[in-house]
């Protein structure tokens, strides 16, 4: 019965935020479509594509987690036969699901465009590293929103993460080892690329595990 309640909570979140998921997927695809044009238009497409993912990573934790508390829906939800740990499980799964649907769709779209066009396949590894950054940011913001119970903390982390994006892009672009693979006709999975991807997924796993641990230790939930 309780597993079913977690499923109800997840389904509820999907119903509440489905417009956001659809809009972000459509806008991301528009960005991808524009990427195929050369020159400045293509650059706008890249910017639009990444902006969609970054904005979604910021909005979803606010809409799904922070608003439960700020909008005083949390008392309503916690009056249902659910524990704090189950609420956390439902929130983490629904938030991840709602982000992963547009994210995975757009990742597949981006890879299809690279593979199906004259864009060098050597860009695939670095594209994956850059596309995964908003996923990392999203997981960190969701974790802080759940554990910190405060809009202020979430906004603070959002600002820090957006600042980190601005640092990561030029650092990656200036790395000679990474740049050398950009023009290759086949993807080059260098140790640096694998380390970067591994680090991103390690941060995601750590953020989710720490969130779960801290939430399960809370004594006052509402």
């Amino acid at each position: 019965m309780n597993g079913s309640l977690v499923r109800h909570m997840i389904a509820k979140d999907f119903r509440l935020h489905r417009e956001l998921i659809i809009i972000s997927t459509v806008v991301g695809f528009i960005g991808l479509a524009v990427v195929q044009f050369r020159g400045l238009t293509g650059l706008f497409g890249i910017i639009g594509f990444f902006t969609t993912l970054i904005v979604l990573a910021c909005i979803l934790p606010q809409a799904s987690v922070v608003m439960d508390r700020k909008g005083q829906h949390l008392t309503f939800l916690m009056s249902l036969p659910i524990s704090a740990t189950q609420y956390t499980t439902a929130k983490m799964l629904s938030a991840l699901g709602m982000f992963l649907i547009p994210w995975l769709t757009l990742v597949i779209g981006a890879l299809s465009i690279i593979l199906g066009s004259d864009i060098p396949d050597g860009l695939i590894p670095i594209a994956l590293v850059l596309i995964t950054l908003p996923l990392v940011g999203f997981c960190l913001m969701t974790s802080v929103a759940l554990v910190g119970e405060s809009e202020g903390w979430t906004v603070g982390v959002m600002i820090a993460i957006n600042f980190a994006y601005s640092l990561c892009w030029p650092l990656i672009a200036r790395n000679n080892e990474l740049r050398s693979g950009f023009g290759s006709s086949t993807p080059v999975w260098s140790p640096t690329i694998l380390t970067l991807l591994g680090s991103e997924f390690a941060v995601i796993a750590a953020a989710l595990a720490i969130t779960y641990y801290l939430q399960s230790r809370k004594r006052d939930f509402v």
Partner: protein, 298 residues
Amino acid sequence: MMDPVIRMEGVRKKYRYFALDNIALELQPGQIMGLIGPNGAGKSTTIRILMGLVHQDQGDVRVLGYRMPAEQIAAKWEIGFASEDMRLYGAMTVRWHMDFIRSIYPRWDEKYAQLLLKRFGLNPEQRIKGLSHGQRVKSTLLLVLARCPRLLVLDEPTTGLDPVARHEILRELSAVMKDEGRSILFSSHNTHDVEQISDQITFIDRGRIIDSMDKEAYLDRWRRLRLEVPLGVELPALPGIIDIRQDGRLAVATANEFVPDLANAYENTGARIQSIENMTLEEIFVANVEHSREEVGA
């Protein structure tokens, strides 16, 4: 005797600027308990501990036989909880919320829910954000009542409502009690609302239960005696009198254990009884809180 639906014993919870101290409560099946206290008295914290939303530092809490917070999931299947700070999703309709709750609770009574929609004058297709405060409270109560809980826990449900909406809600709560297996714990700082529907009343102030008994017992035991005191006569402190206020030759004594002998005892000192008045629950509450604070301060 049946097991109580709520039993709290020696419950303590400490915050930086507030503490619940040694809370003990007991609610029998089929009873309505009004939990009355001023703002910040600890009503909501007590109720949150009862619901397992806040963990007590010490003490034993059992609701419907379940240990809280450990068995809160099992308990919450049978509890309908609504609080003044509870909000539904503004962008969604009343119907959406009804469908959500119905999908969770197998005991959801759709016929009763439809009846409540009519009684409360609610349009199920209306979004929550378009409803008045009273309609929102009624929507929340509908969601709680139609799941047919054995125990209703209501934290300040009538706060901010107009008299008509308050009356509608109190009438519905009274109707719920026709099913004798149900019980209600109802917190408020509005003594008038509590007086209308409660069987049992508990006063809480500054994190402590200061008194708890049947409503009728309160109304029977508490009296205000108006006295005329001749010059040179000093009113004695009698057992059962918790407060004496004197202004010149007129004095008012408040009794929390009134017996006719008290009046005789004053008359024997030379004082003249002008009147012996019944007290309203609000007057009893205020006198009780003031007396308790004086005792703590002494």
